[in-house]
Symmetry: C2
Subunit: 420 residues, 2 copies
Amino acid sequence: MRRYVDLSPSQRCIMTPGPVEVDPRVLRAMSFPILGQFDPEFTCIMNETMEMLRELFSTDNRWAYPIDGTSRSGIEAAMVSLIAPGDRVLIPIYGRFGHLLHEIAERCGAEVFVIEKTWGSVFEPNEVIAAIERFTPDVVAIVHGETSTGRIQPLAEIGQACREMDVLLIVDAVATIGGVPVETDEWMLDAVIGGTQKCLSIPSGMAPITYNDRAEAKLLSRKQVERGLRTGQEYAESTKLSFIRSNYFDLSMLQDYWSSTRLNHHTEMTSMLYALREGLRLTLEEGFEARFARHILHEKALLAGLTAMGLKLYGDPDCKLTVVTCVLIPEGVDGESVRSMLLNRFGIEIASSFGPLKGLIWRIGTMGFSCRENNILRLLGAFEAVLIRHGLSLPCGYGVQAALDVYEANEYKRNQFPMV
Amino acid sequence: MRRYVDLSPSQRCIMTPGPVEVDPRVLRAMSFPILGQFDPEFTCIMNETMEMLRELFSTDNRWAYPIDGTSRSGIEAAMVSLIAPGDRVLIPIYGRFGHLLHEIAERCGAEVFVIEKTWGSVFEPNEVIAAIERFTPDVVAIVHGETSTGRIQPLAEIGQACREMDVLLIVDAVATIGGVPVETDEWMLDAVIGGTQKCLSIPSGMAPITYNDRAEAKLLSRKQVERGLRTGQEYAESTKLSFIRSNYFDLSMLQDYWSSTRLNHHTEMTSMLYALREGLRLTLEEGFEARFARHILHEKALLAGLTAMGLKLYGDPDCKLTVVTCVLIPEGVDGESVRSMLLNRFGIEIASSFGPLKGLIWRIGTMGFSCRENNILRLLGAFEAVLIRHGLSLPCGYGVQAALDVYEANEYKRNQFPMV
């Protein structure tokens, strides 16, 4: 039998759009001994986590809890529970993760209608509203922040239109939650899915979601049908009906598990829940205003540095997502070779991209715990060195100096933030 | 805004059939800083984990990797990927988790055939084989170890019969993997799902699975159909076809992510994978023979203690599952009150049961890291005290003494095991 050595992962500076670095306090939380899933101490932690999630999503919704899986498990749970086979679903697509929503909606058996926007931009709200009027969908599913293109889609007007036309609106806020405002109630979003491994800086493994009474009503109507599935005869009849196709992702069962009835479903992920609770605690302790301002400040410093180095940014600046910066790879430079050198020599990770943007842009994340001054300065210095090593002639030292200028000009403001 | 205090979970002695206590070395592994999901160091950890899982499942299968969710996510992934709508599926049920397989198979759109055995016993292999001949299913799904009743179902003859009749056999080994032998290849099991939070003593959050070429062939046939889903017209035609209804649980996509092509799917759960790798490393280090013998020894001591206290066991002893012991609640005793006192005064958790057994039995787990001498002795002493406090007249001191007798008689053997 082969002997396996002890784990010893290297220390990385992770400047991708997720997963990003994790606050040591969150890592520590995962090392606490576990509790049983029905231990009153544990169910108390579950309830506290729900309270904190309501704050995170800016909602008074009763239901706000994590799905036990990675971010896309939350998306699938919301979609498979809220989209019945045959439902009409509109997906406005402006990047890779819109295509994922399309793919999942198809697997739910929906009749899918798609509108597409050139990557690098987002929809005018009126374009989406016109499509809703044209296709009269039961459900609209849309991405809030596209990490593939680094763009953010305004949602307030779309939310209001969906409410007026009685359409359910499902929002993928995986990339934005905890980094930029997500106003569930104010924007009238019916179901919202967040991610842990991005702006919340918790390891991948849970997907916080919230949904309102309108969404719950649809769940419960499907639950009633599903209950009838007992005999072969009933089953044969019910295949035409709209029962929820997944047990693991059935929100109508999950909410019973998260309610005071604690109806047994899965075995809750103890250590991941500890991490989620601690990550939420740190987020609420910092405060949304300070946290969003911190993300804006470090983005500003990064942009100043990249621009001073003579690099060009990708995409429409009017809809740039604060927490992801897409940089055009200069002509003649091998983007993957630059990334490898950054990782192997400097211990810094940045991302490539997908589909039509593969080989054309790098993506730099400034998210959560990774979004801090020393990381920005470290990245800019290393980036310059690696680009020079790849034959680019750059004005030496300008990148870091430009970022320092931003930080010094914002010294007073920065001191109001936690020292990160 | 409410202030939340720091996490501070109590130290518990967890003697349930899962989740159980976690080795501090596994908890420590989760506190390591994370790596990016495509960092070569991380993909190396993914590959090592696959190697270890093959050993765990006693298989030469190419595919052995975790599903990112709790144990039932692994069951659903195997079933939704291997059961096409309309497939004939036979489920032999002898406890609660057989009903779960039934429920999931129905949601997959299968035509389900069920045979049931009185709880507390298991099937004679011939009973299952006769049902296979009668119902001619495409798939048989069965539980290996039923934690609800504490029974274990022999699988070798059923496996051979399925192979001969070209039926796919899916096995839920959530409760047995790492605690009693699971011989994937020798027993001819086509797909096996393990659990982390039981005999492997890793926190809930991943579901290791393995499947062979026969299972993969079925996946790939369904994958080809799914690829055609591009236009509305193709979609309308394909609803009759057998595409996999889930994106998150589509094993044909997951195996691409776990292969050297690393086709992006979800963002792998970094910290949970660290925990899984460390838990597997400790399991392989102890060795299967020593580990299974350890579980048998502590079960023996527990049974000696309980019997000496005058308590009666539930179920057919011939098919008792080593790692779960079901105890009949003595007449006139409030089982839930006993459990509460054990937890609140002594910090020890044991389990109640489900459905027809609710209020009739307690279930005591002796699994993984929880399965050690000091835990058994602690439980027996506390159990006696709590039962006396509940008005039962017991022969004082006999339980612990009987367990000590077992340990002393096995001293030589015990010293060959790690000191747990």
